[in-house]
């Protein structure tokens, strides 16, 4: 196959536009953040342009490492739960009639329109002692007295998964709906149980999509900063919460920028590692 050179200025313009948008909305803000992370912090005020590594050196505290590790583990846990729940769910949707598929997808898209704030407050209310679900369970005779399930780690994980679940399904839906029905059918004809079919044939064929969904939820939950405040205890505050504290409440932009960039570096490294590992195993499987 020969690569065709773009013809005429119009073809170049087609490249120019995305490049411009990428530059305007991503490269410039990101470069600003990198620059600010080297600026000098004036305690009790703002910052002055400089080049120093103090903001990065200040990250070497037990507090920062503990919160960093917790944030990454929390992201991985939510990603694992979302994929584990989302994959069978999406598979189930794709086996439905077209009309019902659309209904489900519209419903999931509608959930996306809820903001993090609304989701956080709704869950904290639903999990509360005074007005929450436990009251319903007491009514039904399943529990003795109403209890509070929030704030806590379980509440936080629940909230984050609720937030990320629609994205998981939307990432998994296209490859699953393209999955050739002949493959699972063949497996069934050859005597595999439905469960075995699902895990060996469906999961096996879709490994790339599953890794992609996992990474997306992982990265997405790393950015949540309101839910940990509303549904979590202070030791569940993620790095995003601390970054917000530095940027918004202490007006310490250089420190916040340094934290954000370091955090991003570590996350990208982990994502890269996941992808490399995913690729390396492929030949053995094929």
């Amino acid at each position: 196959m020969k690569a065709q050179r773009p013809r005429g200025i119009g073809a170049y313009l087609a490249f120019f536009y995305p490049a411009l948008m990428l530059g305007f909305f991503f490269v410039i803000p990101f470069a600003t953040m990198v620059a600010v992370s080297f600026f000098h912090r004036q305690p009790g005020a703002f910052y002055i342009p400089a080049f120093e590594l103090d903001n990065y050196r200040a990250l070497a505290t037990p507090l920062f490492s503990r919160v960093l590790v917790f944030s990454l583990l929390l992201g991985a846990l939510c990603a694992a739960l979302c994929v584990a729940a989302g994959l069978p769910f999406t598979y189930f949707i794709t086996r439905l009639k077209r009309r019902f598929q659309v209904v489900w997808l519209v419903f999931l898209l509608a959930v996306l329109s809820l903001s993090e704030v609304i989701i956080g407050f709704s869950w904290s209310l639903l999990l509360s002692r005074t007005a929450g679900i436990s009251n319903l369970l007491v009514r039904l005779g399943l529990m003795d007295h109403a209890v509070s399930w929030s704030p806590g780690l379980a509440a936080l994980v629940l909230g984050l998964c609720y937030l990320a679940f629609p994205y998981t399904v939307l990432v998994l839906y296209p490859p699953l709906s393209r999955l050739d029905p002949a493959l699972p059918e063949a497996a069934r004809t050859l005597g595999a149980s439905p469960l075995r079919t699902f895990f060996t044939v469906v999961v096996g064929t879709l490994r790339d999509a599953i890794v992609a969904a996992f990474i997306m939820v992982f990265v997405f939950t790393l950015g949540a900063y309101l839910l940990p405040q509303i549904l979590g205890r202070p030791h569940h505050w993620t790095l995003s919460v601390l970054i917000t504290d530095q940027a918004i409440y202490q007006s310490n932009m250089p420190q916040a920028a340094a934290m954000a960039i370091f955090f991003m570096g570590v996350s990208l490294a982990l994502v890269g590692l996941t992808m490399v590992l995913g690729k390396r195993r492929r030949p053995a499987n094929d």
């Binding site: 305690p43 507090l63 405040q229 202070p234 504290d245 918004i248 409440y249 932009m253």
Partner: protein, 356 residues
């Protein structure tokens, strides 16, 4: 194709109509005023701004500010780009001092604010060189609030928050610079603020404060996070704003606000003008209006804030004054802790204490 043309004609038509109508309204003067979003802004929108417009002809565009420092950062960043998201903003003391460091606040001429003569002296805020940069807008108290259904007896002291029966029942502000819990702890358990003069002393206070952690269910950054839980009794006690608690009680919610015997924390907000604003003349008219004793009295009655002008000028009755203030000497925050060279160290130690 024809449909597309029609759409474009409609779009251009709209642009032209908007363009024509803009100069008509430009004849009226507009001032963008920022106050804290929620109950506070609603009360200003309802009780203060319409009368001001009626009297002066200046229309107020009311802007909802996020609590505390967040608004300062936005104003600061915008001013660097020559923009003013609000011309006049209500700014608490810590952000006032932080903004001073970068000369964010436009210097004000007291001659253009004749009503400033009614103000209590501490409510004229100045740069170190003596230029005025803020005029006291309202003052408010952070007090000990409780849900009356859960606690039949009102608490008496800040120390009541430390008792074991409050396990998992408190809502406290999450940051040293908006909770002033260092001051509260120092006054309640160490006999005063002297202990806050050294790192060793502050560490001792933080250690005492750490004992309260099992009792705290929510460390909140934004008052909205706590309000609902306080009303419902989910989190039946904590520190909160006396004025909002009063408004909640007036709306029939089972909430009471108590001035502990060590005193409530008295914080205040200034009217300050961003240096990027081009509406300084209108701002003077607005600030002067807000300093009028009868307007300060109206704020006390309708919004529940304590006046920044001398009490005798306001004509508030004893009962009205007692509802917004207290005879117990207040705890005045140590703003220098949060704006001085120790501020980053304090924040680091605080975060370690809270999140451990």
């Amino acid at each position: 194709m024809r449909k597309a043309v029609a759409t474009w004609m409609l779009v251009f038509g709209c642009i032209i109509v908007i363009g024509l109508s803009a100069p008509v309204s430009a004849g009226q003067k507009v001032l963008k005023v920022g106050t804290y979003g929620g109950y506070f802004k609603d009360s200003f929108d309802k009780h203060i701004f319409p009368d001001f417009t009626k009297e002066t002809g200046i229309k107020i565009e009311s802007i909802a500010e996020p609590t505390g420092e967040a608004w300062l950062v936005q104003l600061e960043q915008a001013a660097r780009a020559g923009q003013a998201p609000a011309d006049v903003s209500m700014i608490a003391q810590t952000p006032m001092l932080r903004g001073q460091r970068s000369q964010l606040w436009a210097p004000l001429d007291l001659k253009k604010i004749p009503n400033s003569k009614y103000l209590l002296p501490q409510f004229i805020h100045r740069y170190k060189d003596g230029r005025v940069d803020g005029i006291g807008a309202v003052s408010w108290y952070i007090t000990l609030v409780s849900n009356t259904n859960v606690f039949k007896q009102p608490p008496k002291s800040w120390a009541d928050m430390w008792t074991p029966d409050k396990k998992d029942k408190l809502g406290l502000l999450a940051l040293p610079s908006n909770s002033f819990l260092l001051e509260i702890t120092a006054k309640t358990f160490f006999g005063g603020y002297d202990i806050l003069n050294s790192k060793e002393g502050i560490s001792k206070v933080l250690k005492k404060l750490a004992e309260i952690k099992p009792n705290v269910k929510l460390w909140y950054r934004d008052e909205g996070q706590f309000q609902q839980a306080l009303q419902s009794g989910e989190i039946p006690m904590g520190q909160y704003y006396h004025d909002v608690a009063g408004l909640l009680a007036a709306d029939g919610h089972p909430v009471r606000s108590t001035f502990p015997k060590e005193g409530g924390v008295n914080d205040s907000g200034c009217w300050a003008v961003s240096k990027a604003s081009k509406k300084l003349e209108e701002a003077y008219i607005f600030i002067n209006y807000m300093c009028r004793p009868d307007i300060q009295a109206k704020l006390a009655r309708k919004v529940g804030t304590a006046p920044t002008v001398r009490r005798e000028a306001t004509g508030l009755t004893d009962a009205e004054f007692a509802a917004v203030s207290s005879d117990i000497p207040p705890l005045i925050p140590r703003y220098d802790l949060y704006t001085g060279d120790l501020s980053d160290w304090i924040n680091q130690k605080w975060t370690e204490m809270v999140t451990r």
